[in-house]
Symmetry: C2
Subunit: 204 residues, 2 copies
């Protein structure tokens, strides 16, 4: 039996619904005070200017599962640029498709190829599915691209990582979502020391 590609999405959200703080910008991709969203990624407090630690075991396992299952990734151009394309050695090991309005030649960095797709989210997904070869496609964000995939009913599983913080301002994941009929079936809760991963199957 051959594997079947699932489209996964995951993003971290504050208790008040923000996926970035205000003023997200290069060098501060999660916005002002937004580092607190990703304490689970680095095993505790960090800042844009300080060294970063390793994830807790439970979070590392969650990340390892995602990376192992992924045959391709999709990301919005804004997010790609905010993190400077994950630097010189992104380490995805599989193709990353960047949804953008501005055409760009593919960029190869180490074992990662970035392909810039101007045909919209469905085209990016079609190309990612082909590249994934039966493994999963993971939509990593940002908020705008993830919302487009949810609105189109193209997401099979959504992991909302709830960070126990308030940001008060920034980008909200669900603002502007056109449909409210999506059904979310929780299939797992992962309790990290720094957040709670709520994992849902999404029914369109």
């Amino acid at each position: 039996m051959s594997a079947e590609t699932k489209v996964l999405a995951g993003i971290t959200m504050s208790l008040d619904g923000y996926v970035t703080g205000p003023n997200d910008r290069p060098g501060a991709g999660l916005g002002d005070n937004g580092e607190r969203l990703h304490y689970w990624v680095f095993g505790g407090p960090w800042t844009y200017d300080s060294p970063r630690g390793e994830p807790a075991a439970v979070d590392q396992a969650y990340l390892d599962d995602a990376f192992t299952s992924a045959g391709a990734w999709i990301v919005g151009r804004t997010m790609h640029d905010l993190v400077d394309g994950w630097g010189d050695d992104p380490g995805f090991g599989v193709p990353v498709f960047v949804v953008t309005h501005r055409a760009h030649e593919p960029v190869v960095k180490g074992d990662t190829t970035f392909e810039f797709v101007t045909g919209g989210i469905a085209d990016a997904l079609a190309r990612a599915r082909t590249a994934a070869g039966g493994k999963n496609v993971i939509v990593m964000g940002g908020a705008d691209v993830l919302r487009q995939y949810l609105d189109a009913g193209l997401v099979d599983e959504l992991t909302l990582t709830i960070a126990p913080v308030l940001l008060g301002a920034g980008k909200r994941l669900f603002d502007g979502l056109a449909r409210t009929d999506l059904a979310f079936e929780r299939f797992a809760v992962v309790e990290s020391p720094f957040a709670t991963h709520l994992r849902f199957r999404v029914r369109g």
Copy 2:
């Protein structure tokens, strides 16, 4: 050793951060489509005009714990009025303090006395503490009153019950919260068939 009163608060929130749908009104206290927030309260789908079922065992246990621990409740006048004071037999068994701008004589219904407090949230809490006699005080909402207590740093534990639905509009719990420095320490996750109760200690 005498018990020490804790101030608990609990409210149900959609994935997109709403604690009511739009148009909350008498007879439809959770607003349009807001019944979906409280599937966990009634053991599955219900509507404002249909019969309601019983909670799942895990939710009944959560509710029983709250009612057993409570020596007094606090509610905003808007919420009180939207649910018509819980009808003829509210069944709280302990005093309920209603935060309001409009003075009103106490109302006794069965084993429940409603006291209307015009002195603000701190006065309501002081009176509730006295009435609770060492048991807990529970702030049940609505959003505006709960937000005031959070802003004042008066909440010891907050249970955010995450309903796996999108509402798209309505009242947001955290809109207008003045402070973003509150620390939330998760101490329990309760997985209901219909929602996920995230329980936090709150540090001011």
